[in-house]
């Protein structure tokens, strides 16, 4: 019989970790749904967000300003990455595009190594205080922030995508690019916006989790891969499912680390990936048909 406190603790850890996966997954979905590109550098944005914010705080900026500056700055960087790295190669095969983003991720990671070195960094929590005790589990205040931000962000994004003209036109690009162009939508500008938005969202994820984990220059890779797995659960085009997938993944990992072994924790995400891809859901079949229609 598993003690409930332990279960609850795992759940809390899982949800906390899962929230960053969810935010990165959102970034994947935004970019993929508008441009059909899988952006390998997504996790690096989270890393950059965290480390940049830490440095800005260390330089003397108040925490709130530093966070906002980091998020906006990384968003701009992401848009820049699209403009410089992906737009020139627009007509290349999907494989080449993925590799370009891999290259970008590597370059970003290298720069991070130069700037911040291999040391882990930690940020002060948003609100100082002692952790809460709920039903035998310890919940850090920052975890509440994390959960809160994700839960707030989701409906905000939902409103953005369903109620505003800009959000609608972003979705339209993904749903039917030709029709979008016929409406007068400039798909290039939309792609730029998509990248900027997902960069900011990724950075936000990094920023809110920085007080809990130790941010290092190489955390981006695993975050990218796991965020991707979460996004894939929703077929790479569905926002709510991607967010749910992120949380689910976090919880599964936490349970797995607790009950099986912490070393295999990372493998859980990929086993989940395999299971999803190999069960051949309908959206996958459809996406593949589009890939095959090429020749």
């Amino acid at each position: 019989m598993i003690p409930t406190e332990q279960l609850l603790q795992f759940l809390v850890t899982g949800i906390t970790n899962g929230s960053i996966y969810a935010l990165i997954a959102l970034g994947f979905v935004v970019i993929y749904s508008v441009t059909s590109v899988i952006n390998f550098a997504q996790g690096e944005f989270a890393m950059l967000g965290a480390l940049t914010a830490v440095s800005l705080i260390a330089a003397g900026l108040p925490q709130g300003v530093a966070l906002a500056a980091a998020v906006i700055g990384i968003g701009i960087l992401s848009a820049f990455l699209y403009q410089v790295g992906l737009r020139p190669a627009r007509d290349a095969s999907p494989l080449v595009l993925i590799i370009i983003t891999i290259g970008a991720a590597l370059a970003i990671r290298g720069v991070a190594l130069v700037v911040w070195g291999t040391d882990p960094y930690q940020m002060a929590p948003f609100t100082i205080g002692s952790p809460l005790q709920v039903g035998g589990a310890v919940i850090r205040l920052q975890s509440l922030w994390v959960l809160g931000m994700t839960l707030v962000l989701q409906p905000l994004l939902h409103i953005f995508f369903t109620r505003t003209m800009l959000g609608r036109s972003l979705r339209a690009c993904a749903v039917n690019r030709l029709a979008a162009r016929l409406m007068g939508i400039r798909t290039d500008r939309m792609a730029l916006l998509a990248f900027g938005l997902s960069g900011a969202v990724g950075a936000l994820g990094g920023v809110i989790i920085a007080p809990i984990i130790f941010a290092t220059y190489d955390m981006g890779l695993m975050l990218s891969l796991k965020g991707f797995v979460a996004a894939v659960m929703g077929g790479l085009v569905n926002y709510p499912t991607a967010v749910a997938g992120g949380f689910l993944l976090g919880i599964l990992e936490s349970l797995g680390a607790g009950f099986i072994s912490s070393g295999y924790k990372d493998a859980i995400a990929f086993i989940a990936l395999f299971i999803i891809l190999l069960s051949k859901p309908r959206w996958l079949v459809q996406a593949e048909q589009e890939i095959e229609e090429g020749p």
């Binding site: 036109s169 979705r171 039917n176 029709a179 007068g184």
Partner: protein, 247 residues
């Protein structure tokens, strides 16, 4: 209003249009008929800038349209209802209509847009009933109405329609044609590309029949309707060689 002269266009290595000339005057319904493969959709694609012409000219109100992409066309007042609708299938009816008005949304026109949406609903009451329904779940005829409504949301001066009757039952086709005729009555200029020659010619002022990338016939709607050559353009003009000689 719209003048096409000597247009030649194609895709990659395939030449589809050879030398097409036609014109549409303000307030007319002009229909372009012909069998599949004749180049009707290619012509519309060339006008809309989806395909770059290799030769010839396209002029809208005496302004040359060469080289403009489809994003620009809607700003010039050209509304397009593409072949097979091309609606945003996973978005709602309302979303689709909103997107139709995209190019107007920059300026503070929200109230006028809502008014126009009301107007679209009055022409297509069925869309009002289903305004929150996901567009892909509408029937073929309803999707066609949505596509037309969406194009109208852009407040175009001229409407290009590509095969609106495609895949629709005869009753629905008649309904669509009625709506199109009504639009013309209210002053819209329409270039209607249709494989269904009878339905199109019945409401058209003038018609062209295309074959093999060229204009084969031209005339007033009613006259073409009765012209036997139209039938031959569709079902093969030459007399069939006698069967006995088959090897």
């Amino acid at each position: 209003m719209l003048v096409v002269e000597g247009l030649a266009a194609g895709y990659g290595r395939v030449q589809v249009l050879h030398s097409v000339s036609l014109h549409v005057r303000r307030g007319e319904i002009v229909t372009l008929n012909g069998p599949n493969g004749a180049g009707k959709t290619t012509l519309l694609n060339a006008i809309m800038g989806v395909v770059t012409p290799r030769n010839g000219r396209i002029r809208l109100r005496d302004r040359d349209l060469a080289g403009l992409g489809p994003e620009r066309m809607v700003h010039l007042g050209v509304g397009y209802v593409p072949e097979r609708r091309q609606i945003f299938a996973s978005m709602t009816v309302l979303d689709n209509l909103w997107l139709g008005a995209y190019h107007r949304s920059g300026r503070q026109e929200k109230r006028t847009i809502l008014q126009d949406m009301e107007q679209v609903f009055s022409v297509f009451p069925i869309l009002r009933e289903r305004e929150r329904q996901v567009a892909g779940t509408l029937s073929g005829g309803q999707q066609q109405m949505l596509a037309l409504g969406r194009a109208l949301m852009a407040k175009p001066d001229i409407l290009l329609m590509d095969e609106p009757s495609l895949g629709l039952a005869p009753l629905v086709v008649a309904e669509i044609m009625r709506v199109i005729a009504d639009l013309r009555r209210n002053g819209m200029t329409i270039l209607l590309v249709e494989q269904n020659a009878k339905a199109a010619l019945a409401i058209a002022d003038r018609g062209y029949v295309m074959e093999g990338g060229r204009i084969a016939l031209e005339g007033r709607g009613k006259e073409l309707l009765a012209d036997e050559r139209v039938q031959r353009a569709y079902l093969g003009g030459r007399t069939v060689r006698d069967e006995g000689a088959r090897p």
